[in-house]
Symmetry: C2
Subunit: 143 residues, 2 copies
């Protein structure tokens, strides 16, 4: 149950938080912007203020429940933190996001950080390109 995760994060169990967590966990879409979360909830008839969406997503991030990514540089997108780490491949045409993971890369990153005397906290690997899928001929706005 989602309630448990909120409690573990030291957050009160409130309706907006449950709705947002539920949307991220069971919704159709992934890698949603705050605005997209706001809209998705509105479309479900669940009205939550945009400021609250921002606040809750930030709290979730601080609690480690979600991760924030900047694929485009001007708008953050959020995804539920998954048990298995992965990186991202973004299509420049349709903005679709693909996930992948690669142990060799992870390993090399650790070696590099080590050799430079760094204690690694986090990292982001974003690949940008064009997916050749037939369905990717038109631009889809994933705002």
């Amino acid at each position: 149950m989602e309630e448990h995760q909120l409690k573990a994060a030291g957050l009160k169990i409130t309706s907006p938080r449950l709705k947002i967590l539920n949307l991220l966990a069971h919704g159709e879409l992934d890698h949603l912007s705050a605005e997209a979360v706001y809209q998705a909830l509105k479309d479900l008839g669940e009205d939550v203020g945009l400021a609250t969406v921002y606040r809750v997503l930030t709290q979730f991030e601080e609690a480690g429940l979600v991760e924030r990514h900047f694929f485009s540089g001007n708008q953050a997108v959020f995804e539920l933190t998954s048990d298995s780490h992965h990186d991202h491949l973004v299509c420049n045409q349709c903005n679709k996001v693909f996930e992948f993971s690669n142990d060799k890369i992870e390993q090399e990153q650790a070696i590099i950080a080590e050799s430079l005397g760094f204690v690694l906290n986090d990292h982001r690997l974003h690949l940008y390109g064009d997916c050749k899928n037939p369905q990717c001929t038109h631009k889809i706005q994933s705002k």
Copy 2:
């Protein structure tokens, strides 16, 4: 000479463009925000409007002369495009940026993109951590 690069990019040779290109090529600092470029020029007694700095940096980026990075998510930084590709390691404490390159990682990225049917255009690999350098005890604002 810098003039040649501007000409090759189809840009008129103007004073602001030369000053900015020169700053990036021969200045002390690297990975500068637009604001930082504006300030650095002002400190040199060279006044260039902030809007012009933004416009010129964007034109340089389009021409492939500079690269734009989002290390922090809310402010872009720019660096001269170098002949040798490299990725970045950012210290969470002092915001210092270190560069590195790793052929294995580059190679794996290509394999991943290939296997997912992607034509790769670009990528960003950012490592975040704490550098253990003695000089990194205080927070330095690299604004």
